[in-house]
């Protein structure tokens, strides 16, 4: 008998261990649910981790008001299926309360999300928020710990992270501080897709190839929506696209693709020469755009 496990089994076991550790260490936990593929995988792993009990913490969705309608449909269906509580933090409300402004030329609410997120965490006194971020996504995320400490302002201090030895997580914190916990740290984009295929998970339809009204802005293909203001020379065109990540409609770039099934996506991902977030407008502001947002409390 050879006692070995597959790569995905290993990743799954690690993620389930981290999720259970979060639930055990913190009185109040939440799962940050964006409706994207990574949070769909995380939700599934959380379901497995506590089965046959229900997931013992709520899901939090930060609603920018600029969602893909397909993603909201998917979110509501999954919430019902898993029997968890959904808490929605509304960016629209943050703006109406005068705590932020979206006077941005292309209407992106990406940066304001952090304010709404931190307010939601504070309001519900969450000690820890589980997120689906992965280290292979982006160079600042490559520096993340599984248990990532945030000070009472919700800030990340990347120069001074706690050492994280073996799988012994230090969950001690002071009042008002919180943790972000990333069970999928060691997963790659391809691992996520292979797992989705293996577990037969449902995803929002925007991940699969479809014909859509799009606008090309600065080389990035964006879905046309009422939130997008066209500048001179920009035009709406009908394209066959899919999305590799799902965020705010105004900053998530599409890729031209005819991949209609998970298997076709796996083949396409394996052959891709562009990183998954290469089409994310929010990462292009500067060289360290992700680090800057993460320091301020972003996902």
């Amino acid at each position: 008998m050879i006692y070995t496990v597959s790569h995905l089994q290993n990743l799954e076991s690690e993620a389930i261990f981290v999720i259970r550790e979060a639930a055990a260490e913190f009185e109040s936990c939440a799962l940050l649910f964006s409706g994207g593929k990574d949070s769909a995988v995380l939700a599934h792993l959380a379901h497995k981790a506590f089965y046959p009990s229900n997931i013992p913490f709520p899901f939090v969705h930060i609603d920018t008001g600029h969602n893909f309608p397909e993603v909201l449909t998917f979110r509501d269906r999954l919430i019902q299926k898993l029997g968890v509580k959904l808490i929605v933090g509304s960016v629209e409300e943050t703006i109406q309360q005068g705590k932020a402004s979206d006077q941005n030329s292309n209407g992106s609410r990406n940066q304001i999300q952090s304010i709404t997120l931190l307010e939601t965490i504070e309001k519900h006194r969450f000690g820890a928020c589980l997120g689906g971020a992965r280290r292979d996504e982006e160079k600042a995320r490559a520096k993340e710990r599984f248990f990532s400490h945030r000070n009472e302002f919700g800030e990340w201090d990347p120069k001074n992270q706690r050492p994280e030895l073996w799988h012994l997580f230090n969950a001690r914190k002071k009042q008002g501080e919180h943790f972000r916990i990333f069970p999928l740290s060691n997963w790659t984009e391809l691992d996520v897709w292979t797992y989705i295929s293996q577990e037969n998970l449902e995803l929002p339809s925007v991940y699969f190839s479809h014909v859509r009204e799009c606008v090309k802005k600065d080389g990035i293909i964006l879905a046309h929506s009422p939130y997008l203001q066209l500048k001179n020379g920009e035009k709406v065109e009908s394209l066959k696209v899919r999305f590799r990540t799902v965020g705010d409609m105004t900053c998530t770039g599409a890729t031209l693709s005819s991949a209609e099934t998970v298997e076709q996506i796996i083949l396409e991902t394996a052959a891709s020469r562009i990183g998954e977030r290469g089409g994310r407008g929010d990462d292009q502001f500067s060289e360290t755009a992700m680090e800057d947002r993460k320091k301020a409390g972003y996902f």
């Binding site: 280290r135 001690r172 060691n186 360290t288």
Partner: protein
């Protein structure tokens, strides 16, 4: 056949070229995306460099890019047709040794870089010592920047000899050496004509072909209870399962087990993995174990086999790596995290610390400061169930947490 995974950490002194080597490995194995490369090219030009600085691919933090150093460990994922790899790119700067230890604690191989011009320096010795204390099974020593010593075999041979003399006293069983030039790619993926006197394999060949033996102890059954699952719903009214990750050994339904610390015995009725029941469970699987009897078992307890108990006690001898800028306080109290259990401990005795360069013990005027490696004796507030680190990493490792700041101040390996 599924590809095997090799996790490795890069180590070595600051400026030995770790980030450049990783950039080179990723570039030459075509593991970089076009947009990552374009970013690195643009950033290099902004910095006024005449070449593309591949280190800018892994040094992701603003402060790292400004100073051209690595502060914290960055994890990279790539695969070749033969294997999958996880790289922990760790900092060389002594100030950030704690991050090197973080990266090295979960890998199969430590890749130690040496600048051919400088030879074996204190950080090389420190990282080799840490790798041996952490029981990293393989060491790969890369003598880098061979271009700056005119590709001379003599320089390489001298460094190999110097390192060998040092490592012989560390008890590391598997060490390999390779001369490289990371900046230009010599012997990284392609073998180099400029190093034709070297007859061995390239760096990537070694990484792809190294025999990885299972790191797991399959003999001593240890199951630290992480979480108790009790649905208390209509359809699962009596379900009571103990969730956790198998620490070591193989568990099967029907096995007699003892729950520590209470000492009650029971029998495993089922091992659940979601909706399936397993015939056996072994590391690193996360499972739920159900028992025949309703016992008082909670997080921090441990299921073991009656004829193979771990050590149970409150007095521990450990080797520690101290991380905090505040020195270790003799008679000081700390939180200790061991498996899923958290207890308090008091430092009873500082036995010695190790002189990194000579490996001699320092026993006089002992103060244990940041980056020191020392042997200490502690007493815990409650009994812990442990094995020596050399036998089981899961039950042999601890972290120390400062009561006031909540910082992780040390890693400990039980002797």
């Amino acid at each position: 056949m599924e590809k095997e995974l090799l996790a490795f950490a890069t180590a070595g002194s600051v400026d030995d070229g770790k980030s450049t080597l990783i950039g080179r490995l990723l570039y030459d194995t075509k593991a970089l995306f076009d947009d990552q490369l374009i970013h690195a090219e643009k950033a290099s030009r902004r910095k006024g460099l005449s070449f593309t600085d591949l280190a800018l691919i892994t040094d992701g933090l603003r402060a790292e890019r400004e100073q051209g150093i690595t502060i914290d460990v960055a994890y990279r994922y790539f695969s070749t047709p033969k294997r999958k790899f996880i790289i922990a790119d760790t900092p060389g700067h002594i100030q950030y040794t704690r991050n090197m230890v973080t990266g090295a604690s979960t890998v199969n191989l430590a890749l130690i870089l040496i600048d051919a011009r400088n030879g074996v320096v204190e950080q090389t010795r420190r990282h080799a010592l840490i790798s041996s204390l952490l029981k990293v099974p393989h060491l790969l020593v890369c003598i880098n920047k061979m271009d700056l010593v005119d590709w001379k075999e003599k320089v390489y041979e001298k460094i190999v000899q110097e390192f060998n003399e040092f490592s012989a006293r560390l008890g590391i069983s598997d060490i390999q050496y390779v001369p490289i030039c990371a900046l230009e790619g010599d012997n990284v993926v392609e073998s180099s004509s400029r190093l034709s006197w070297y007859k061995g394999p390239t760096l990537l060949w070694i990484l792809e072909n190294l025999h990885i033996s299972s790191d797991y102890n399959l003999i001593d059954c240890r199951f630290p209870v992480q979480y108790v699952i009790r649905p208390q719903t209509q359809e699962n009214h009596d379900y009571r399962g103990y969730a956790g990750r198998i620490g070591s050994g193989v568990f099967k339904p029907g096995d007699k087990v003892v729950a520590l610390p209470a000492g009650f015995s029971s029998t495993i009725t089922a091992i659940d993995s979601y909706k399936t029941q397993l015939k056996e469970a072994f590391p690193p699987l996360s499972v739920v174990i159900r028992l025949e009897d309703d016992l008082d078992i909670s997080r921090g307890d441990m299921l073991v086999r009656p004829n193979n108990l771990p050590e149970i006690g409150q007095d521990l001898d450990l080797m520690i790596c101290w991380f905090s800028t505040k020195p270790l306080v003799s008679r000081g109290k700390y939180w200790l995290k061991h498996t899923t259990k958290q207890v308090k401990c008091i430092v009873k005795e500082l036995l010695y610390k190790i002189n990194i360069n000579t490996l001699h013990r320092i026993e006089d005027n002992l103060t244990i400061q940041m980056n020191d490696i020392a042997r200490i004796r502690i007493r815990t507030s409650q009994p812990v169930f442990w094995d020596p680190y050399s036998r089981s990493k899961t039950t042999g490792s601890v972290i120390f947490i400062d009561e006031a700041s909540n910082e992780t101040v040390a890693a400990g390996m039980i002797l």
